[in-house]
């Protein structure tokens, strides 16, 4: 069933590629170099972001209240940028390079573009961090005008964005030459299609960034008088929210990839999976309106239409992936012989393989926490009781942390041996790492969710309001304590990952010339498990049970929020 059969002759120059010692897949040397460089800086960003995370989490825990106000906001800015932007985007550029070269049997289009892209992104990242740490950009990562930062701060973001755009262009051009040179046969592999989706969204994102940040740079440099705050918010969220949709598409592609790699899962129906990605391309970006639901300026019709991704067609797409990804896993496991009951296949999954456990937990938390809360608080009227409360970070720590970050760490368990060609240190501990991180971040999310339901604001140093007599109940401090406690656990999870990665990448044993040390897959026991018919390729009772539970939670949470809304003052 090897996919190599689908490959024709690659377009590599002599000596510029190798074939993977584990999978037999072709690896372009240039791509491999830049995947490694991007991944290293991604991990550095994750480290900076993680240090900021523990500091702000311990500040929001009232009993600890670690940082002074000024440094709380500063580290919040550091956290937002390094986590949301640098860690994720650097890694995504690496993923795009990998997908376009290895999965299409092609060389990377241009080494020069990759080099310039990487250099610009790195310079941008350093500039932004330097401005924040020196106190010249205490504006949080949204930098809402008329708060003003140093011009070099905006310039840094712009350089980073231009670099990322070049990386994305390199991806598209690589696909172009792969097709031109016929390095592969037939339609795009699904993972490539998902990556194309991510790349398209990245382009729209960066264009919005240019439209909003170039004028802001000029304004901060004194060349423009004002920037309208309403205009800024509309276009800035084109950057801020759309960039999150890159993560969704990239993450889901990685899910398909990892389940295929580890258990040999195959999509149930390629047309459905691609159709879902197309719905993302068309509609997911409308949802930037989530952030403007209680804003002046934009009309009700605009809010409802856009916040609903055109009648929730992008939510439909996520529900499809939420069905087909576990469905593909279930069919693959059943085919291997694990056919007992509803969840026998799940029980037999390789839970001690951190690549698998990380992706699976990411999928569950993304769906159950990120997805459900996101759609609900993104409902026009419900925003009245949730806007800028801690319910928001609760939501996006469900998507971008429990979802994307956990997924990308799981991916790293394969990237390091396959691309860096180093075998992991501390494998025993790393098998636990996804669980530690998941428990920690889950606790953080629960704390934020309930504190937010009580109206506690996000981005806020002191909810006792510097002595004003606003009561904070013991219950509320309890929820905030969970943010701190969960933060410590999640931080520990990140630290284990970071230390092991650094140790392995720089000092690990090379595995060149032999397959990687396997994390453990699934034994095929189908020999004694009876015959497999064509219908069985589509039978997914366990997945049905899972998605019905998901839908039930969704319905309950959605209407519970309407109920809570119905209890507040009247307004229109």
């Amino acid at each position: 069933m090897s996919s190599i059969a689908g490959f024709l002759k690659g377009n590599f120059l002599p000596g510029q590629s190798r074939s993977c010692d584990t999978t037999g897949l072709p690896v372009c040397n240039t791509a491999s170099l830049y995947i490694r460089l991007n991944a290293v800086i991604a991990v550095v960003s994750l480290l900076i972001g993680a240090i900021a995370a523990i500091l702000i989490a311990l500040t929001r825990w009232p009993a600890v209240h670690l940082l002074p106000a000024e440094w709380f906001y500063r580290f919040l800015t550091v956290h937002g940028f390094n986590m949301l932007i640098f860690w994720i985007i650097f890694l995504e550029i690496g993923i795009l390079y990998f997908v376009a070269t290895t999965l299409l049997n092609s060389r990377l289009f241009s080494k020069a573009i990759a080099a310039i892209s990487f250099a610009l992104m790195l310079i941008g990242m350093i500039m932004v961090n330097a401005m924040i740490f020196t106190g010249q950009a205490d504006v949080l990562f949204t930098s809402y005008v008329p708060l003003m930062a140093h011009p070099l701060f905006y310039l840094g973001i712009i350089l980073f964005a231009v670099g990322a755009l070049l990386g994305v262009a390199n991806f598209f051009l690589t696909i172009h030459i792969a097709r031109r040179d016929k390095t592969y046969e037939g339609p795009f592999p699904l993972v490539v299609f998902g990556a194309i989706t991510a790349a398209v969204i990245a382009v729209v994102t960066i264009l919005h960034g240019a439209v909003v940040l170039i004028p802001t740079l000029l304004w901060s440099a004194g060349l423009l008088e004002t920037i309208d705050p309403g205009f800024y918010r509309v276009v800035w969220w084109g950057l801020g929210h759309m960039s999150q949709q890159i993560n969704v598409a990239a993450m889901i592609s990685v899910w398909y990839f990892m389940f295929s790699l580890i258990v040999g899962a195959k999509p149930l129906n390629h047309a459905v999976c691609r159709g879902a990605f197309i719905l993302y391309i068309l509609f997911i970006n409308l949802a930037s309106a989530h952030h403007l639901l209680v804003d002046p300026g934009v009309s009700t019709e605009w809010k409802i239409w856009n916040t609903s991704y055109a009648m929730y067609l992008a939510v439909l797409a996520s529900m499809l992936h939420g069905f087909t990804v576990p469905g593909a896993l279930e069919v693959a496991m059943r085919k291997k012989g694990y056919r007992q009951g509803l969840f026998g296949w799940l029980a037999a999954a390789p839970w001690s393989n951190p690549g698998f456990s990380g992706v699976f937990m990411a999928m569950v938390m993304f769906g159950f926490i990120g997805g459900i809360t996101g759609v609900t608080i993104g409902t026009e009227q419900i925003s009245i009781i949730t806007h800028n409360t801690l319910k928001l970070p609760a939501h996006f720590h469900g998507t971008v942390v429990a979802g994307t970050t956990l997924t990308f760490m799981a991916l790293a368990y394969y990237v390091v041996p396959l691309i860096f060609q180093k075998d992991w240190y501390a494998k025993g501990l790393l098998r636990l790492q996804p669980y530690i991180f998941a428990i920690g971040i889950f606790t953080v999310i629960i704390g934020m969710q309930f504190a937010g339901s009580a109206g506690i604001p996000r981005r806020h140093w002191d909810i006792s309001f510097a002595g004003t007599p606003i009561p904070i109940t013991p219950m509320e401090s309890g929820w905030l304590a969970l943010v701190g406690i969960g933060g410590v656990i999640a931080f520990l999870g990140l630290l284990i990952f970071l230390l092991a990665t650094v140790a392995t990448v720089f000092f690990g044993r090379s595995n060149k010339g032999r397959p990687m040390e396997d994390w453990g897959g699934v034994k095929d026991i189908s020999a004694g498990a009876g015959t497999w018919t064509k219908e069985d390729d589509h039978k997914t009772p366990g997945t049905w049970a899972l998605v019905m539970i998901l839908l039930t939670c969704f319905v309950v949470y959605f209407f519970a929020n309407w109920k809570a809304l119905a209890d507040v003052w009247w307004v229109h």
């Binding site: 996919s3 106000a69 708060l147």
Partner: protein, 178 residues
């Protein structure tokens, strides 16, 4: 291992199970969507679609006039102002305070104008019985809310949009009597 290169006849309609899930999902999406317009018709809490462009100094002058004509006392340095039921009321965010303090009567609708004189702010009303309502405030925009207090007591206004180094001290008040 397969990297998901589709077979030759990959482009085909979903099978029965997949179709059912698509149908269920789509119906749920329609529920999600229509809940919003329906709530605009039958619901009592809708974000306002009324807003205007305004110069911060014009807004601020209007607030001063509002305070002059309707002031009924002071809490510390901040005037307490009682607008006529059904009438216009103004609250201005800026300089890390909400100004002035409003005194309202439960069950009456007020036309509340909120805006900022400096940065963006978050108007976050907090009070007993779990009341928490949040609206975004931008300098240069008159955000108009037709609001009816349905509970009485003392309500605090907190700023929940970062507006600078002392953002967390930015508080205000609305008093509601039966």
């Amino acid at each position: 291992m397969s990297f998901m290169i589709p077979e030759k006849d990959w482009f085909k309609a979903p099978d029965k199970g997949e179709k059912s899930w698509i149908a269920i999902g789509f119906i749920w999406c329609l529920v999600l969507f229509f809940s919003m317009p329906i709530w605009h018709i039958y619901g009592k809490q809708n974000s306002s679609s009324e807003s205007y462009r305004v110069k911060p100094e014009d807004f601020s002058a209007r607030v001063m006039k509002f305070v002059e004509t309707n002031s009924i006392g002071k809490d510390g340095n901040t005037p307490i102002v009682q607008p006529k039921p059904g009438g216009h009321a103004y609250v201005m965010g800026g300089g890390y305070i909400w100004y002035p303090i409003l005194k309202l009567k439960k069950g009456n609708e007020y036309i509340l104008h909120i805006s900022s004189t400096d940065y963006q702010h978050g108007f976050s009303l907090q009070g007993e019985a779990g009341i928490n309502m949040n609206f975004q405030i931008l300098p240069g925009y008159d955000h108009v809310l037709k609001i009816t207090p349905t509970t009485s007591g003392t309500f605090n206004i907190v700023c929940n949009e970062f507006c600078g180094a002392r953002h967390h001290v930015m508080t205000g008040k609305i008093l509601v009597e039966d």
